[in-house]
């Protein structure tokens, strides 16, 4: 990486750490440390909500997916606007008026301590492990693409975040999130601008989009009813609604964002910012991947984007096979480029040859894709990793090899920003849940505010170290990442079900909520491991199971009393 790019990344890191640390002056008591004394404006909280949700995995993975498959991931967010409206009239005023620090605190008031503890401990388990994954995933990619030391990359992302979150509390988290969101949006805008500028002179934007559309990459909405397909209009609208209700309404890492708002109305406005802007933003991010695809139609792409595996396979016993594939790849690329130019020319002429030319381009693209598939299969055989893929390397690889000096630094800083904003919010919420739901509830029920403030800072540091250690181990235990992600998906729908029982009905009892919650997790685990049903539907299944079992258990004692 060029010295200017290094300077951009280091200036970004210094700016964020300095800004976070100076927030400690406004943090003298526990309520200030965890909730900013409920004083923050809606726009800052709204940007913090968006920054927390947009992790580096989203930024890098979604652009890669846009390159390889297209815009279908947009459908994940279709339920979000409706979820925000529902949350604005339910949990936002509800939690705000209840004066709680954590969402789980309310469960004890409504049900009992064991239901609160179950929800809080499950949150802490899943979030602490996922926090490790949030650090590890971009660190692995950056260390490969930029040839950095992996452990140092993990610590480079993790330690500054732990430092300012530990010292500055939620004030630091929110105000650094605001700046990080600005860096991310600046980088996204710069990437789109540069990709449009790099289109060949004789290919218009419309012509480029028609080429991408020919390959099916612009199909953002799929109205097919197929519960085994991950992203469809229906899974996004219904499953996505349940997921977003759970994530923004029951997950402490998001609940804590809007609890810092200075009024109920500010809390609502902060969520509505995502309702208005999330879908447009999630349209632009995979579109970057689509534009990278168009760029590589006219500029030869690498056969594989993970340079480390590229080198390893060349040096392996099957290196000759790989080189032969690369020869085929080069020929297929040239055929596709010629077909693309012919299609763009036909569209410019506007005569009847457009359809035939675009079909020819589509066939040439399929030929090129088949060579890449063969190369991927070869890597999987040689490495023994049958899930190997390189879509997450597409965007960073493009940035480091085709972007001008300075912009590379900005985009690497944006990847850091996306990771750090998510990690900071997670560490802050983990510390809140540990102190409020466990330490203050069970271990030291009477203590001074100064004592709890010190304990809160130490626990933030503890969770930060756990996350960094988990990240270091996660990089060498690939399947563990799947387990962590799956564990989170078992938990989300069930947590929503428990809160639905708490808020939605008077008849639900503590036992109903507790056993319903466990039943929901168990049913989702069985569904996930034994059926091909896509994960977005797991949230619906989990929530409905909890409500059904919870209501059944809640009504059981009443029936016994009648019988006796």
């Amino acid at each position: 990486m060029h010295a200017v790019d290094w300077a951009v990344v280091l200036v970004y890191l210094a700016w964020i750490v300095w800004d976070g640390l100076r927030r400690s002056k406004a943090t003298h008591e526990v309520e200030g440390y965890f909730l900013a004394n409920r004083s923050l404006p809606w726009w800052a909280v709204g940007l913090s909500v968006m920054a927390t949700q947009l992790s580096a995995i989203t930024l890098v993975g979604t652009t890669g997916r846009g390159y390889a498959e297209g815009m279908s991931i947009l459908q994940l967010y279709l339920g979000l606007p409706v979820a925000m409206v529902i949350l604005s009239v339910t949990v936002v005023p509800f939690f705000y008026r209840a004066g709680v620090f954590t969402a789980y605190e309310y469960l004890e008031r409504r049900f009992d301590a064991k239901t609160r503890t179950l929800a809080s401990v499950l949150f802490q388990l899943s979030r602490s492990l996922s926090c490790g994954v949030v650090i590890a995933a971009p660190a692995v990619i950056l260390s490969v693409v930029l040839e950095w030391n992996l452990t140092l990359t993990i610590l480079g992302i993790g330690l500054p975040t732990v430092l300012y979150t530990m010292v500055g509390g939620v004030q630091a988290v929110t105000w650094t999130d605001v700046k990080q969101m600005v860096v991310i949006l600046g980088a996204v805008g710069a990437a789109v601008g540069l990709l449009l500028w790099q289109l060949p002179a004789d290919v218009s934007l419309g012509g480029a989009l028609h080429l991408a559309g020919t390959t099916g990459r612009l199909q953002a909405l799929d109205f097919q009813w197929d519960p085994t397909k991950t992203y469809t209009f229906w899974s996004g609208l219904i499953g996505g609604l349940f997921l977003m209700l759970s994530y923004f309404g029951c997950d402490q890492s998001q609940v804590q964002r809007y609890l810092t708002a200075k009024s109920i109305d500010d809390g609502r406005q902060s969520l509505l910012m995502s309702a208005y802007w999330k879908i447009p933003l999630q349209f632009v991010i995979p579109l970057i991947g689509v534009l990278i695809f168009v760029f590589f139609v006219f500029n030869r792409p690498p056969m594989l984007f993970n340079s480390q595996h590229d080198r390893a396979i060349r040096a392996s016993a099957r290196g000759a096979e790989y080189v032969a594939l690369e020869q085929r790849f080069g020929d297929a690329y040239e055929a596709r480029r010629q077909a693309a130019l012919a299609a763009a020319e036909a569209r410019k002429r506007g005569d009847g040859s457009v359809e035939a030319a675009e079909h020819a381009f589509g066939r040439a693209d399929a030929d090129l894709a088949s060579v890449r598939t063969a190369a991927t299969a070869l890597v999987r055989e040689v490495s023994g990793d049958d899930k190997w893929g390189d879509v997450n390397y597409v965007f960073p690889s493009f940035v480091t090899t085709h972007m001008p000096v300075g912009l590379v630094g900005l985009i690497i800083a944006a990847i850091f920003a996306a990771a750090m904003s998510t990690i900071a919010a997670e560490l802050n919420s983990l510390s809140t849940a540990t102190i409020i739901d466990v330490y203050k509830r069970y271990l030291k029920t009477e203590g001074s505010d100064a004592h709890y403030l010190t304990a809160s800072k130490l626990v933030t540091g503890f969770w930060g170290l756990v996350a960094c250690v988990a990240a270091i181990f996660a990089t060498s235990l690939g399947p563990l990442i799947d387990v962590v992600n799956r564990f989170g998906s078992f938990f989300y729908g069930s947590l929503l079900g428990v809160f639905a029982l708490a808020i939605g009905t008077r008849r639900a009892t503590a036992n109903g909520a507790f056993w319903g919650g466990l039943a929901g997790i168990a049913v989702v685990a069985v569904v996930a491991f034994t059926t091909p049903i896509a994960f977005l539907w797991h949230n619906v299944i989990g929530a409905l199971t909890v409500v059904a079992v919870g209501m059944a258990v809640s009504s059981a004692p009443a029936r016994r009393r009648i019988v006796s």
Binding site: V89, G206, G216, L272
Partner: protein
């Protein structure tokens, strides 16, 4: 209004929010999705 038992009953303010902001959010989403659909139909195959 929030009942002690945990029930949420939509009060006048919440109903007003739903009928104004809620409807606006959903209408904007419908317009955005219609634009996305037109985009994919126009540029797609």
């Amino acid at each position: 209004m929030i009942m002690p038992s945990g029930n949420v009953i939509l009060d006048a303010e919440a109903r007003r929010f739903l009928s104004r902001t809620g409807v606006r959010v959903i209408l904007i989403e419908v317009v955005v999705l219609a634009a996305v659909w037109l985009f994919q139909v126009y540029y797609g195959r």
